[in-house]
């Protein structure tokens, strides 16, 4: 059902955890299935220096979260905002159709954190 990449990121998720003093936090819950992500960012000069996440959800949600963190670490905030859910799913070699919505979580949580951060800075 799941690709090897999904199973890899699900079994050994990268960047799990919290941060003592993050620069940004985003929490996002899917209204579809209740899955929830919490994203913690360390930001320097508009660049994501470090990232951590916690996710409640199915394997697809966990793998998407993990993959997302790998994809944006070291990237600019703009690059991170440009990351789409589809890109995350694609990086995982795809998700089963009925699980596509689970990848939404990851990008959406990330964007929430960044947008809140940018809002506050204004």
């Amino acid at each position: 059902m799941y690709s090897d990449k999904v199973m890899d990121h699900f079994s050994n998720p990268r960047n799990v955890g919290e941060m003592e003093v993050p620069d940004a936090i985003g929490e996002f819950g899917s209204s579809h299935c209740g899955d929830t992500i919490k994203v913690f960012l360390k930001i320097e000069d508009d660049i994501i220096k470090d990232i951590r996440f916690k996710t409640f959800g199915c394997a697809a949600a966990i793998a998407s979260s993990s993959m997302m963190t790998e994809m944006v670490r070291g990237k600019t905030l703009q690059e991170a905002l440009d990351l789409t859910n589809e890109a995350v799913a694609q990086a995982l070699d795809g998700l089963p159709p009925e699980k596509m919505h689970c990848s939404c979580l990851a990008a959406d949580g990330l964007h929430k954190a960044i947008n809140d951060y940018l809002q506050e800075k204004k």
Binding site: M7, S11, C33, D35, T36, K38, K54, F56, C58, E98
Partner: protein, 392 residues
């Protein structure tokens, strides 16, 4: 890798003795039992023997057994066949919110055709209010459908009492006993049921065969019209190996029922207690006493069931979850939802269903493997605080 199968409510492996009984009927004794020549005669008596074996297990007469292809066909046949046969009498069905989809989806399809259906609520233990049931009966009620044992939680319903209510009001009573037959005593006379569904593959007979008990005097319109098979009640050439296998499985299950029940309940309780001792913040789903001996449905707070199942699977443990992120409604099973389980806990539920082959070593392996997986997933969960525990 160790392989431990704890999903016997989903399906079972065909028992060696059963397969052995079936084997001759594929190739050497392959006749159509409706044929009058040697090839047909060689098998027709075996069909009748199987009918007796099934009837023996549930205490009915062989003529009251109709062979089907599965439990779903049995439920569809019983419900649609009653609606059609009794359409002059009424068009109201009473069932529960926690039936198997084969009953629920059938009822919903019938609603579109004008049939009225009452879905009885259950309490937090998964049990019915029998007064509510009795009050739901109207002049137009033609069928009460309450399962014997729930497939997800194992909850056992008070079938005898419901049978008395049905009798009192002269309403037909169907019980989906797919999860009960062969695992707990099922006696259709004592229970006062008129229709009872059996599926082979839940009791070590093969997939593709089932039976419906139809009490004498309760005619059903066929679901599968055709030839004269099954006294005109179910068309289609008999699945001879399947039927012979079902008969043998019923005979074997009947002979071992007491032993099976006790042994499996002890193992299930060992699993339950072991998990509750090793993992904080867990919740048992379903009434602790009124339960099938081999079923354990348990929620592990803060995490989602699928992840837990996948990790268990990677360690060779096959279990299942009513929850599925695909089924909408916060991924919770309709059974737990009807029991009012908190959506978050509902999603964290796992069902272990034990079988005749389950050993103490299997249980101990689960008890060793599962707690660290839960911990790992909890450490990943935004809802989990290490200190917590008050959430339950």
């Amino acid at each position: 890798m160790k392989k431990i199968y704890l999903d016997n409510n989903a399906t079972t492996s065909v028992r060696a003795e059963v397969l052995e009984t079936m084997l001759p009927f594929f190739s050497s004794e392959f006749g159509n039992p409706s044929s009058l020549h040697w090839a047909g005669r060689a098998v027709s008596s075996h069909i009748e023997k199987a009918r007796q074996q099934v009837a023996g297990l549930i205490n009915c007469s062989p003529a009251e057994i109709v062979f089907t292809s599965c439990g779903s066909e049995g439920n569809n046949f019983a419900i649609k066949g009653t609606v059609e046969a009794l359409k002059e009498k009424g068009n109201h069905i009473i069932t529960t919110a926690v039936e198997h989809p084969a009953v629920l989806t059938t009822c919903r399809a019938l609603e579109k055709q004008g049939v009225q259906v009452t879905y009885l609520a259950v309490d937090e233990d998964g049990l019915l209010d029998l007064e509510e049931l009795e009050q739901a009966i109207t002049e137009r009620t033609i069928l009460i459908a309450v399962m014997w044992g729930n497939n997800e939680t194992g909850v056992l319903f008070p079938i005898e009492e419901i049978g008395r209510i049905a009798r009192r009001h002269k309403v037909r009573f169907l019980s989906d006993a797919v999860q009960a037959v062969g695992k707990v005593p099922v006696d259709v006379q004592q229970a006062g049921v008129d229709l009872l569904t059996i599926s082979g593959h839940k009791i070590e007979a093969p997939k593709g065969v089932g039976a419906l008990y139809v009490r004498k005097g309760n005619p059903l319109t066929p679901l599968i019209h055709g030839g004269h098979q099954e006294r005109n009640r179910r068309g289609g050439t008999h699945n001879v190996p399947g039927i012979v296998g079902l008969g043998r499985a019923c005979e074997l299950a009947g002979g071992e029922l007491d032993d099976f029940q006790k042994r499996v309940a002890v193992l299930r309780d060992r699993l339950q207690q072991g998990l509750m001792a090793a993992v904080p913040d867990v919740k048992l789903n379903g009434h602790p006493q009124y339960r099938l001996p081999g079923t354990l449905n348990i929620s592990f707070a803060y995490i989602e069931g699928e992840g837990l199942l996948l990790h268990l699977d990677m360690q060779g443990i096959a279990a299942s979850s009513g929850s599925a992120c695909t089924s909408g409604s916060f991924g919770m099973s309709h059974v737990l939802e009807a029991m009012g389980v908190d959506p978050m806990l509902g999603q964290s539920s796992v069902r272990f269903s034990l079988g005749r082959d389950t050993s103490e070593a299997d249980i101990d392996y689960v008890l060793q493997v599962l707690p660290p997986i839960v911990q790992k997933l909890r450490d990943m969960s935004p809802f989990y605080q290490n200190t917590s525990g008050a959430a339950l």
